[in-house]
Amino acid sequence: MTTTPTSTTPTAAGTSLREALQATDRRRRRTDLTMRVLIIAAFVLAMIPLLSLTWTVVSKGIGRLDSYFLLHSMRGVFGGMDAGGIYHAIIGTLEITLFAALISVPIGLLAAIYLVEYGNGKALARLVTFLVDVMTGIPSIVAGLFAYALFALILGPGAKFGAIGSVALSVLMIPVVIRSSEEMLRLVPNELREASLALGVPRWLTIIKVVLRTSVAGLTTGVMLAIARVIGETAPLLLTVGVVDSINFNLFEGRMMTLPVYVYRQYAQGLVPCTDGDASCIPDINLQRAWAAALTLFLIVMVLNLIGRLVTRLFAPKIR
């Protein structure tokens, strides 16, 4: 400790004692201040990439993001042509993600119901909880490899179509749905279940009509956030769905384009070599498209997040 004089005699106990105590140790107060500044600095530091990223995506993407870009595919677009859009990628992303949700939501919801309503304390339930935690940590690329391997076994190697991507995404989505639904179902007060059972309502109707109905807002939020999480996945779709320039509505046949893969592909193609004096050739057209598609994806994800949070806030039953 530093040797600051502590001889100030406390005349009245209140403020002067406080002053005396505070004057004792400058070093401690300096450390306190330093750490406070560091902690606030850490927060500010984390805001820098968020702001920088948002700013660049919006400012670089807004230029090309118009109705032409949204409603045209890349079919017949080559070189530095001032054309091309993301219509085919939007179709692919929507179909693949919705199909993935169609697979994951029933499985995830039922598994959550098992854990909350039937599982309590059983060895199987504990195992499932643990495995869901483990499953949350599966790298997305491994999920892609799994879906590829699964369909390679059924249909032979080399199959690439939208539904494989949906399977890969649902491997990533199921644990997220289970975790959020489980949390929501546990919030339903036991009195509601008991009241319903006491009226002679069978267990399954109690679950469907009372438990699920009470927690529907929270469940919707969970599903929305899960969709928002997988809609931006790139790597598994790169492996399983491939890349295509034209529109494909069929989930079960032929390659499809998706927004994240589109961003990656445009980025990977990079700058276009233009001959001098060719006014119709834009050297960085691919990057412009990449930014515009990234902005679209960014907006979709943010809107999903926002709606998800709003649903809970607006429609949540007032339990307390």
């Binding site: 560091l38 600095a41 990223l53 598994a111 199987l124 928002a228 931006g232 997040n305």
Partner: protein, 336 residues
């Protein structure tokens, strides 16, 4: 599971079907829709088990040709497979690169994440705290491909002079040695982007643990005349230690499997190299798979799946260890 069998079957056996029996049986014994629903729900739970088992089985099954093949066969069949090395010799540098990227990003992210978590749990005004936490969560919502785009086109040129500076003045540290890349597409940049990506998950769990510090501990420290930082150091951090460790490990698991940011930023190489600022040194498993898979032939795919299997095992081990640490703390609800 076995313990419940007698309970559900027990009461139904002696009672004959009828109106009185019906009334008696209501309760634990499920019939009709209830039974079907119970099995449906249990089936979904078991399906999780099966899916995870299937992931392991199918990966092994597809990787088997590469796992059992002779090294010379592999290098003959695959253009990018190095000569005179076994599969292990091929995976080795990739595992090294993966671990290096994850470790450096974790080193960058953990202190900042703890700082942010402390800020939202103990320093920020109450009203602002939850809103600020939500803003940090937004970082997790941004798709990885957007991070890759931003890292490759915006961040790399910005940080390149900084790396240049580090290379010139701190070049004697092995990590900063070698020729500093003029493009900034190096492991250090990747680590920075990965750190930003894993920041939200570490922050979220740390914040949850910090908020669970017993109020009495904090008040006792304050009563002894501790400053705010001393409260944090004496009451909050010791209480949260295992939570912080598991949060960091979950972040590590996320960083290990990240593909797009690495693929879009790093200029790859296959060396056991600690030089974070030089180009063409390391590559991660995930990025290598994404880069080679679309054009790979049969043997190539098998080899890539074998590397994917290695990644799966590593992340599984890290995640299980993290969860085990979380599970040891009974009062911790497990934020994720």
């Amino acid at each position: 599971m076995t313990s419940t069998q007698p309970r559900t079957a027990g009461p139904t056996e002696p009672v004959k079907p009828g109106t009185t029996a019906r009334r008696l049986r209501s309760g634990h014994g499920d019939r009709g829709g209830s039974l079907a629903f119970r099995w449906l729900a249990t089936g979904a739970g078991i399906l999780i088990l099966l899916i995870l088992a299937a992931v392991a089985v199918f990966l092994v099954q597809r990787a088997w040709p590469a796992l059992t093949a002779d090294p010379s066969e592999l290098s003959d069949a695959i253009s990018w497979f190095p000569e005179d090395t076994s599969l292990l010799g091929f995976v080795g540098p990739l595992i090294f690169g993966t671990l290096l990227a994850a470790a450096v990003s974790l080193l960058l992210a953990t202190p900042i994440a703890i700082g942010i978590a402390l800020f939202t749990s103990h320093y920020a005004p109450r009203r602002l705290a939850s809103a600020l936490g939500y803003v940090v969560d937004l970082l997790a919502a941004i798709p990885s491909v957007v991070y890759g785009l931003w890292g490759g086109l915006v961040l790399s040129p910005i940080v390149q002079p900084v790396w240049e500076f580090l290379g010139t003045y701190l070049g004697w540290i092995p990590f900063f040695g070698g020729v500093v890349s003029p493009t900034g597409r190096v492991m250090m940049t990747v680590a920075v982007v990965l750190a930003v990506m894993i920041l939200p998950i570490i922050t979220a769990i740390c914040r949850e643990v910090f908020l669970q510090t017993p109020r009495l501990h904090e008040e006792a420290a304050l009563a002894l005349g501790a400053t705010q930082w001393e409260v944090v150091r004496m009451a909050v951090l010791p209480f949260a230690r295992s939570g912080i460790v598991s949060a960091a490990m979950l972040g590590l698991g996320r960083a290990l499997g990240e593909t797009m940011a690495v693929l879009m930023i790093l200029s790859p190489g296959f060396l056991y190299s600690f030089q974070l600022l030089a180009a063409g040194q390391q590559q991660t498993i995930a990025a290598n798979i994404a880069a080679q898979f679309p054009e790979a032939n049969q043997t190539g795919v098998a080899t890539l799946i074998a590397t994917g299997l290695a990644l799966f095992i590593i992340t599984l081990a890290v995640n299980m260890a993290a969860r085990a640490i979380v599970a040891r703390r009974k009062d911790f609800s497990g934020a994720n």
